[in-house]
Amino acid sequence: MAGTSNLLKVRDYIGSMPSLPTTVSKVLEVCNNPKTSPMDLDRVISLDPVLMGKVLKLINSAYYGLGTQVTSLVRAIIMLGVNTVKNLALSTAVLDKFTSNKNFRALNMEGFWRHSLCAGVTAKLIAKKRGVESKALEEYFAAGLLHDIGKIPLNNALAEEYVRTMAVADRDRVSLHVAEKRTLELDHADAGALIAAAWHLDGAISDAARYHHAFSEYQGENRDVVLTVAVANYYASREGIGFSGNLYPDKLPPEVFEELKFRKEALEELEGPVNAEIDKAKVFLRLAQ
């Protein structure tokens, strides 16, 4: 079965997932600098979905044995201190070995990163506008940032197959996750759920990664986060901020906005703040505009 072998390849890959090349040198620079501010540290980690996931994994691992799940870096930095979190980030970024570039890559990593960041920032801004309490805002950010994390193993462990997947999505004009199921027998939501399980990220982050397309099937306690991330994902695709491979994203039913009590038109007001956040990140990483 192609599906089974794909699943095995994806599982294998998850264990050694590398950070995005965009941020690695910045992580080294920020973490090696003794004058790094907590804000710089937070920013450099939260700009990289893979690194963020791995740092959260370590923080929540049995290593620290913290009673409650920590889904926010702000909290982790205050609880464990700048030095500890710096060490976590440094070791995560340094230990990662880059996979070779020889394989075909369907996904452009820079585009993926922008899309993820946009979804994270948008999810947080929507939550803020809706009056979600401030201590939960970072969870919305993390869930948005990591929602497509499952695409990384598909893109890298199944590189050639994933190029075909994209061609199928293009040919049949379907959303990427539909084409993934057709060609690979597993989609990025399945892969995202596998990562969340491997990294011990249960709760909202895991649910958003798994159900951001199939939100109507999800009735769990993190429904608010899942729906918000679905909206943020829709917004990032609609505005073309970054590109995570989905040329034909599903339309969002109006009930989603109704349930969130958030007017669709209010998305227009997010344009300025979202762009400002992404610009800040670009300046921080010194990327080309």
């Binding site: 937070d42 044995g65 926010s72 609880m79 070791s91």
Partner: protein, 309 residues
């Protein structure tokens, strides 16, 4: 019997000399007795004299068996270990537990590597005692013989645990090295790095952690609390160093309805005269305002915590 004896209460570095006779110059080491059980907290330079004392007393009845809990692995809390005589005596059994910060070396290496030829004439492998090491986290442990231990992460530049021992209805708590948790994110809107949600979440996280610390020390019969600085010293350049002020410790302990507070981890530059003056000053300020007893920790002093009858 539930007793606590201070063998070292100095912070950072041993400070022998005529200015530290009354309050002591050895770095942290506390002997706790719960019935027949011997528990040692920290292996600062004070553990040398504790070891010699154990050889003169307990050893007569048989080999030394002890649980050692290290608050954290900063040097002043582990430096006395190579001079703890029982480690050279066959039959000694030590179970050493403590936290380690995220790094690749286990506790055994972090503490035990002091016993290597580079630093010391005897290697760890040559010790006669049976020693086990165990990394511990925030949790609750049944130590047997009716002794319960709860641990709590404190705020210090590396992972550091506070210890709360419960025995026969009474409690003894150590809260050092610890600085009150604080929001490390900018709170001034004029700051170029200011972000409202970070500022707010940082405030909440710090407040929650401080509340957890209060709950951790709540109602303690005896509390040993970090008081390296005065409030004035703390704000003039010591923020972020991982230590508390007298004012903070006293207020927090009073709020947590602690019964007896020992001010601990004396600054290495603080003389006997200064510590005496500070003790008189704070005791006078507190007179009639709290039922909590407050005193400076004194090396060599024994404190008895009566079990509930």
């Amino acid at each position: 019997m539930f007793t606590v004896k201070i063998w070292g209460d100095r912070g950072s570095m041993p400070t022998p000399g005529p200015d530290t006779v009354e309050f002591g110059g050895n770095t942290s080491c506390i002997e706790v007795r719960c019935g027949k059980r011997l528990i040692i907290i920290d292996a600062g330079s004070g553990i040398r004299q504790l070891g010699d004392s154990l050889m003169r007393t307990d050893f007569r009845a048989g080999p030394i068996k002890a649980d050692i809990f290290i608050t954290h692995t900063h040097w002043d809390h582990i430096m006395g270990f190579p001079m703890f005589t029982p480690i050279y005596v066959p039959g000694t059994e030590l179970r050493i537990r403590g936290p380690i910060t995220y790094e690749e070396d286990p506790l055994e290496k972090v503490i035990g590597s002091q016993l290597s030829y580079r630093y010391w004439p005897v290697r760890q492998e040559e010790l006669a005692a049976k020693i086990t090491y165990e990394q511990i986290k925030e949790s609750t442990f049944d130590l047997g013989d009716g002794i319960w231990l709860t641990t709590k992460y404190l705020n210090h530049p590396i992972l550091c645990l506070g210890y709360r021992f419960e025995y026969r209805g009474r409690s003894f708590v150590t809260l050092y090295d610890n600085e009150p948790f604080r929001n490390v994110f900018p709170t001034d809107p004029e700051d170029p790095q200011y972000d409202e949600s970070y500022a707010r979440e940082g405030e909440e996280a710090a407040r929650e952690q401080n509340e957890k610390i209060l709950a951790f020390m709540s109602g303690a019969d005896l509390l040993v609390h970090d008081t390296q600085y005065t409030a004035k010293e703390y704000v003039s350049g010591k923020v972020g160093w991982g230590h508390s002020s007298f004012e903070h410790a006293i207020n927090a302990a009073h709020k947590a309805q602690v019964k007896r507070l020992l001010l601990f981890h004396h600054d290495p530059n603080r003389t006997d005269t200064e510590l005496q003056e500070l003790e008189i000053f704070y005791q006078a300020k507190l007179r009639g305002r709290t039922s909590m007893s407050v005193e400076m920790s004194r090396e060599g002093r024994l404190y008895t915590i009566d079990p509930v009858e």
